[in-house]
């Protein structure tokens, strides 16, 4: 364990940048992610910053049931995020398609077919606290000792 790795671990534990992408949701989960920003939940006290910019993100929150236009765009978006990175599926839609996964639908889920999903938060929609705890649970497992684990 090098000193550099320790420094990286320390920095990454308090600086998690989040982007979210809506691949065809009903807005319910979207707005619950936004509600995490509210001072009541105060996502920034944990060092999580919602910038919604893939190029400076560490964690991608995927919301929605995977509509056809996103089939080529979501992997492209995922490729733009610098490593180390993790994707979290928020809500039932990216996991199973929820109510939209019926006959005659347009959706092409689940999202895990297109990008690797590190964690899933089921719920229609999940509460802001659940989203918050999922991000906090995933971040250390992916980012701690990333360089050591990779080699």
């Amino acid at each position: 364990m090098s000193l550099l790795q320790d420094a990286k671990n320390w920095v990454r534990s308090r600086s998690i940048h989040v982007a979210y992408v809506d691949v065809g949701s009903c807005n319910g989960c979207d707005i619950e992610i936004l509600a995490c920003l509210a001072p009541r939940y105060d996502i920034e006290q944990y060092g999580i910053y919602v910038h919604n910019n893939p190029r400076e993100a560490d964690i991608l929150l995927v919301v929605g049931a995977m509509t056809p236009p996103w089939v080529e765009r979501l992997p492209a978006l995922w490729a733009k995020i610098p490593a180390p990175k993790a994707a979290i599926a928020i809500g039932n839609c990216p996991v199973s398609g929820c109510v939209y996964n019926r006959r005659e639908t347009y959706i092409l889920g689940p999202v895990a077919k297109y990008i690797p999903i590190a964690a899933e938060v089921p719920g229609c929609p999940p509460r802001p606290t659940e989203i918050l705890s999922a991000v906090l649970a995933v971040a250390p497992t992916v980012f701690r000792d990333y360089e050591v684990n990779r080699s």
């Binding site: 809506d22 807005n27 707005i31 765009r73």
Partner: protein, 361 residues
């Protein structure tokens, strides 16, 4: 006609300011926007196709999930349509409770719209105040219906949960808190000098243009058109509802109109709680065959459902018209051309409160 265009700038579909994927393509000369075009299709799930041939019990939950922000009004309009088709009457207490829930939903939706606008013009302080205030409105709904977003509160013949006396007292306390906060933040927005420079005179929608684009809801009412479907709703008529109208038609007017409508909604809820009759909350009945158009005023404007059902209450045909469709048209074709700075494009688009999920379904 040939036009000199410097750059054609696409915004989106993934954009830091936008909550939902949409792409706005702006043709610009210098910083001035000459014309704009919106490109949609990122959220199309085919909800109406899924709905056809399904029993109303399933369609009810699908209707709610057309939009997660204004789920109550989708539920209400669909259920009122099914009631009209089947001749089901609603007990008075349930009719009032429906208005309470609908207005609470309108409050949270308007607070969210104003939060988005403040966030877009980078007034993060006010935005966070408004988002925190919205949590109070969410609490009120959660206390009545048990969940925060997709509540399925209304069912044919009534509502699912009664308002208990303890909840009523807590609701009144929360309404007082909401009124204080919204009054304070509305005044902050109204008198802020920097907010005024970003909002006043930006994204003007003239009354004539609003009529051409058939704008609805707060977007139309901020341009001087006194249209509101609540005027024709029987329960709202009992409450002597009159719409609020402003005439400026700019970003500032749209946001201030939403603040004013929050006060109006608070007043309607208080009036409902005052007049709330005792009695049952569920009348019962059987959903049957028929064809109707059901309308309601969503937070963003007029929402209508065309419903045709068979004698078992299955939905044979359904068509939904959501308020964001004409509002996005009004925004791209009438508000955005002539905007003097590209930074204002996002704020003008957000001020019309477009809901892409509603729009594409």
């Amino acid at each position: 006609m040939k036009r000199v265009v410097d750059v054609s700038i696409p915004l989106g579909p993934v954009h830091p300011c936008w909550k939902e994927p949409a792409r706005v393509k702006c043709e610009t000369r210098g910083e001035k926007v000459l014309s704009a075009e919106v490109e949609l299709g990122y959220m199309k799930k085919g909800i109406e196709r899924i709905m056809r041939g399904r029993p109303w019990q399933e369609v009810m939950f699908l209707a709610e999930r057309v939009c997660g922000i204004c789920s109550v009004i989708h539920n209400m309009v669909f259920i009122e349509g099914m009631e009209a088709v089947s001749g089901i009457t609603v007990p008075d207490r349930a009719a009032y409770l429906r208005v309470v829930m609908n207005e609470l939903d309108r409050i949270q939706s308007h607070l969210l719209a104003n939060f988005s606008y403040c966030y877009t013009i980078e007034h993060e302080t006010l935005a966070m105040y408004l988002l925190n205030t919205r949590e109070r409105a969410m609490d009120c709904m959660e206390r009545i219906a048990g969940v925060r977003v997709n509540k399925a509160y209304m069912i044919p013949g009534g509502v699912r949960f009664d308002l208990r006396d303890t909840d009523r007292a807590l609701l009144l306390a929360d309404l007082a808190h909401l009124e204080d906060s919204v009054h304070r933040y509305g005044r902050m927005f109204d008198t802020g000098p920097l907010i005024a420079t970003r909002s006043k005179g930006v994204g003007i929608l003239m009354q004539e243009q609003a009529r051409i684009a058939r704008a609805v809801g707060p977007t139309a009412r901020a341009s001087g058109i006194a249209e509101d479907v609540r005027l024709t709703h029987p329960t709202y008529r009992k409450l002597a509802f009159t719409p609020i109208v402003r005439t400026e038609g700019d970003n500032h007017a749209r946001i201030m109109l939403r603040f004013d409508e929050i006060f109006q909604s608070l007043g309607l809820i208080r009036q409902c709680l005052h007049d709330l009759p005792a009695g049952p909350i569920r009348g019962g009945g059987t959903c049957g065959a028929g064809e109707t158009v059901s309308r309601g005023e969503a937070p963003r404007g007029e929402l209508s459902y065309f419903i045709r059902s068979d004698e078992y209450g299955r939905i044979l045909d359904i068509a939904i018209r959501t308020p964001s469709i004409p509002n996005i048209d009004a925004c791209t074709h009438h508000m955005l051309p002539g905007v003097t700075s590209l930074a204002d494009v996002t704020s003008v688009f957000v001020s019309a409160d477009p809901c892409i999920a509603c729009n594409e379904r």
